[in-house]
Amino acid sequence: MSDNAFKRLICLGCGFSYDEALGLPGHGIAAGTRWADIPESWVCPDCGTPKALFEMVEIGYAKTPPILRFAA
């Protein structure tokens, strides 16, 4: 994997995942924002775990489609 590939990180306090490719636009972090460019004071939006307690993971996204049910 090239050094320029976008990384994914998971919060070790709750499992919230940050994907550099996606950012968190709803939290003011643009898509493509590198982990290193997020301030060290940042915390997990779901549980408040400090940025330093996220772990980089190389795990792919689920391929299972969502279960969708519609009224007739």
Binding site: I10, C14, D46, E55, G60, Y61, K63
Partner: protein, 247 residues
């Protein structure tokens, strides 16, 4: 050449979390309730131990003290969260639509996937004691899933019984949890699925020789690069959890 790490009961991280003060939003049941947690691996404020083992990131022995003691409703993603109840009653509410009461021998596996919330409560006066195990999943943002099981002591006596993974309660990870319960001295062999799998053995009670090391109550050992793990139980009751994980 077999490799291992040893973690004695008193070498784990200990924390007591109050239902008052700074942790009052985290732990419910104020003012008397509190949670005690012994962490085998780094978790929350305990960061001076091992970071995990294979896909294991959390292994905690927890007790919820006083009626109403609870982890208030909180979110999770991704992690596969298992709880094995040892005593008391755990009331478990989650956004997969379940409200369950789990007692000694009961366990659940909650694969949080793309997201869910849960709340864990002790509604009774007797402390609720449980082992919490968190595993990384093999894919991110899976559809959330929840399953429950029960370890039957009579059927599980003097054998290694799979609880989670493999043919038991399915989880989205190459990992497995088994329980060894014996009522006297005996020998057992545990064979990891491949040379790339390790085993974390945790003694709930009694005495267990694990690849030559005698472990007592709440001692544990992680073993890898072993194609067979020799287990020997001591006199009286021995009760142990064996967590196998890809490395």
């Amino acid at each position: 050449m077999t490799q291992s790490f040893l973690l004695r009961a008193d070498e784990r991280g200990f924390t007591k979390i109050l239902s008052t003060g700074a942790t009052g939003a985290y732990v419910g049941g104020h003012p008397d309730a509190f949670v005690t947690r012994y962490s085998s691996f780094n978790f929350h404020e305990y960061q001076s131990g091992r970071p995990g083992f294979g896909r294991i990131r959390v292994f905690g022995e927890e007790a919820f003290h006083s009626p109403g003691c609870s982890y208030n409703m909180h979110p999770h993603h991704n992690f596969i969260i298992c709880a094995f109840v040892l005593g008391g009653t755990l009331t478990h509410i989650n956004t997969l639509g379940r409200i369950d009461a789990l007692r000694a021998g009961d366990y659940y596996a909650f694969s949080a996937g793309s997201g869910g919330l849960h709340e864990e409560l002790n509604l009774g006066a007797e402390p609720m004691e449980a082992i919490y195990l968190w595993l990384l999943p093999d894919h991110l943002l899976l559809p959330p899933a929840y399953g429950q099981g029960h370890f039957d002591e009579a059927a599980g006596r003097n054998r290694i019984t799979p609880l989670v993974g493999d043919g038991a309660l399915a989880i989205p990870q190459d990992a497995k949890v088994s329980r060894l319960l014996s009522d006297g001295p005996g020998t057992y062999a545990y064979r990891p699925r491949s040379p790339g799998h390790g085993v974390y053995a945790f003694v709930l009670d009694g005495s267990l020789a694990c690849d030559g090391t005698w472990l007592g109550r709440r001692d544990s050992k992680g073993i890898w690069d072993a194609d067979k793990i020799a287990l020997q139980t001591g006199p009286g009751t021995t009760d142990a959890l064996l967590v196998e994980t890809i490395l």
